[in-house]
């Protein structure tokens, strides 16, 4: 670790040239060896971190699936899926990084990685950027999660009474358990229950005058009450729960519905669930961000090691000082260099035109 620190100090002390080579550092043998050893250890830490990312992704997916019945769509699942993919990929990336570091200690064995390293860096950068993207997504998809929950809860409340309809018979149980566990009531708040008929017709005595009046007074012929199910009741209330005739102060002794706070849960279930999931994703996001920084530093250090070792290759005296750099050409040129094979693959560019462009670039690049 100390050697790594020295190494970074050396970079700062060296002039950063504005010529094609970016971030150059002089690496004599001793810091090179120390860099390889430190990086080997760091890459094993990053492997563990990759496994942690995978586990966090699995955890998040499990939590989202537990409440899948009150979510309308599964768009939000892209976040845990990405985390799991990135976790698995980083296991592979860091495994190879440690192998490369091991071989970097021996100048004879290093050249066999020559052809492997360019695609390796491309893939590693892609997955590292994907890791950052997943964290950004977890914050950005709050709106999508909220709208999914809004639609899901609305359906749940609407089909609460349909315990005899196949496919909907568990809605009542799910909504009741949800409201009791998250200490919430309704979609936005408890008034959502006033707009829906949540008592099934099977349990309404249509011979009774009261029921007939109520059904008649509603345009759609629904039996609407100003009452909520028992699962909205708050155990912390000092008085026995008042579920029915909530807006009618005179129906209950010593009761004012405008000032009563403890009787039923005042929070809406959508807000409660969004709060819960955003809290979970924030914690996971913070962890993944630190893993991203770790992974990034592994890749940057590996790049320096690679370029330093490449300069040594072929020379007889392996103990000389060599330069390590981050990018050989400018940023734009490097990106184009990597994108060319991809674009060729998609036949977006002519083969001939690319060669002409490369030939024109070369004289300009030579200092």
């Amino acid at each position: 670790m100390l050697a790594l620190a020295d190494f970074f100090v050396a970079i700062i002390e060296t002039e950063i040239s504005i010529a094609p080579r970016h971030l150059v550092a002089l690496l004599p043998l001793f810091p090179r060896v120390k860099l390889a050893q430190g990086l080997w250890l760091l890459s094993w830490c990053a492997t563990v971190a990759g496994a942690t990312t995978f586990t966090l992704g699995c955890l998040l997916k499990t939590e989202l699936r537990r409440r899948a019945e009150v979510m309308d769509n599964t768009d939000i699942h892209v976040v845990p899926n990405t985390l799991m993919i990135v976790g698995l990929a980083s296991l592979g990336i860091n495994y190879f990084a440690s192998k490369i570091c091991q071989d970097a200690l021996d100048a004879g064995r290093f050249p066999r990685w020559k052809n492997f390293l360019k695609p390796y860096f491309a893939v590693s950068c892609f997955f590292t950027v994907l890791m950052l993207l997943s964290v950004i997504m977890s914050y950005a998809m709050k709106g999508s999660l909220e709208s999914s929950l809004k639609a899901g809860l609305r359906n749940g409340i609407r089909f609460y009474k349909d315990t005899d309809t196949p496919g909907r018979c568990f809605q009542k149980q799910n909504i009741d358990r949800l409201q009791m566990e998250f200490e919430c009531c309704g979609n936005n708040d408890f008034r959502d229950w006033f707009e829906v008929q949540w008592i099934s017709n099977r349990y309404l005595d249509f011979g009774s005058k009261e029921v007939k009046d109520r059904v008649k007074s509603n345009v759609d012929g629904r039996y609407l009450v100003d009452g909520v199910p028992f699962s909205c009741c708050n155990p912390r209330s000092p008085r026995p729960c008042i579920q029915y005739h909530l807006t009618n102060n005179s129906a209950h002794y010593n009761y004012d519905y405008l000032t009563e706070e403890l009787n039923i849960y005042l929070r809406g279930c959508r807000e409660a669930l969004v709060h819960y999931y955003m809290g979970l994703m924030n914690t996971i996001g913070a962890g993944v961000l630190s893993i991203f920084i770790l992974q990034g530093s592994v890749l940057v250090s590996l790049r320096f090691l690679q370029t330093a070792m490449e300069a040594v290759a072929g020379k007889e005296n392996t103990e000389i000082e060599t330069e390590g750099y981050l990018l050989e050409k400018g940023v734009k040129d490097t990106i184009m260099e990597y994108l060319d094979p991809v674009l060729k693959f998609f036949l977006l560019k002519n083969g001939g035109k690319v060669e002409e462009g490369a030939a024109a670039d070369k004289p300009a690049a030579v200092p």
Binding site: R177, S200, S231, P235, N254
Partner: protein, 360 residues
């Protein structure tokens, strides 16, 4: 006639010491496990201690915690001792400590067994405690304005929701107490006054239950009122009644919950006890073997180890005599160093003379 006599060569003695060192370290881990289990049980009991009438049940986790700590300490020391026992010279350092160490190990092994058996036997005491505690809590359910009892309503509601139970033995227990506070009863209403007058003690009793007895598994919205009159509700048939509320009593639910925990704990404790017994036997053999080596004088020779030097009956008798004679340390006996007063000496001479006369 020794009990369990085994002969040990020097190599065997050293091997025994090494094995015991390892076993002692494993015992430290099992002692930590005991401690952990005791703490867990204590936390579980304290979670619902408001619905238990007395805290006598807490002596089981306390026993486990103390035994766990003792196990960790004694076995840590034992590890050190056993490592030194491989070498006769180092053993001499510990010679005086060995016997007390073996006795302590024997006692705390017995405590572990007692702890395991206690976990089984506590069930009836727990049931009694829960019965009285739940009855007390239900009686004071309505007293949310009395200091010291204001959280009983919340505790009982959360208990019924979490353990899916209702009342003490069943939901009918709620019919026998007034669980609606008078603060929320309109005492000017005729219905309320009638009901109060109907009851001998002036309590407002209803055939209704709190909301926490409701079961989410019921296909219909929960019916909490007028439970004794199913005809008061439309289409309230037998099956609906069965699914409407939780059928199980909270006493049974809590008892089952604690029984499962305590049975698993006692199983693990029994396994630990068997392991400790093994360690105790090994340590006793090592102690006796090393002492015999020192008695013989030659560190390279074979020695015998045993569990008891004489048979069980003789050991018991000799120990009993030791205990009997503990109180007699100041009595006069035939020790020539004790200064016997002259009068006593004359009496002795006279009795001798009498004896001589008789024999002659």
């Amino acid at each position: 006639m020794s009990v369990g006599k085994v002969t040990f060569t020097k190599v065997e003695r050293e091997k025994l010491a090494e094995v015991l060192w390892l076993l002692n370290w494993i015992s430290v881990v099992t002692g930590a496990i005991l401690l952990g289990m005791g703490l867990f049980l204590k936390m579980e009991i304290q979670k619902w201690q408001e619905v238990m009438s007395e805290q006598g049940v807490l002596y089981v986790p306390h026993m486990l915690i103390t035994t766990g700590l003792a196990a960790c300490g004694i076995n840590f020391l034992g590890g050190k001792i056993c490592l030194d026992c491989a070498d006769t010279n180092k053993f001499l350092r510990w010679k005086l400590v060995m016997m007390p160490y073996v006795i302590c190990t024997f006692f705390f092994t017995a405590c572990i067994l007692a702890g395991a058996l206690m976990c089984y036997s506590i069930r009836s005491q727990l049931e009694e405690s829960l019965f009285l505690g739940l009855r007390h809590s239900m009686r004071y359910y309505k007293d949310t304005d009395t200091p010291g009892r204001c959280y009983l309503k919340r505790t009982l509601d959360l208990l019924q929701i979490q353990f899916q139970c209702c009342g003490n033995t069943g939901y009918q227990d709620w019919f026998q107490i007034q669980w609606i506070s008078s603060r929320y009863l309109d005492l000017r209403s005729v219905a309320v006054v009638d009901r109060l007058r109907n009851n001998v003690e002036g309590k407002f009793l209803m055939d209704s239950v709190p909301f926490s007895c409701c079961s989410p598994l019921s296909p219909r919205p929960c019916i909490q009122q007028q439970l004794n009159r199913p005809l008061a509700h439309f289409n309230f048939d037998q099956q609906s009644q069965h699914l409407n509320l939780w059928r199980r009593g909270c006493r049974q639910a809590l008892l089952d919950h604690y029984t499962v925990i305590m049975q698993s704990i006692s199983l693990v404790v029994l396994l630990i006890w068997l392991f400790e017994l093994l360690v105790l036997t090994g340590v006793r053999y090592l102690q006796t073997a090393m002492e015999n080596v020192i008695r013989v004088g030659d560190p390279e020779s074979e020695s015998e180890g045993w569990i008891l030097e004489n048979s069980l009956a003789e050991t018991a008798r000799s120990n009993f005599n030791i205990i009997k004679n503990l109180g007699k340390c100041y009595q006069v006996d035939d020790d020539p160093n004790i200064d016997v007063p002259a009068m006593m000496a004359e009496q002795e001479i006279k009795s001798e003379q009498v004896q001589v006369q008789r024999t002659s």
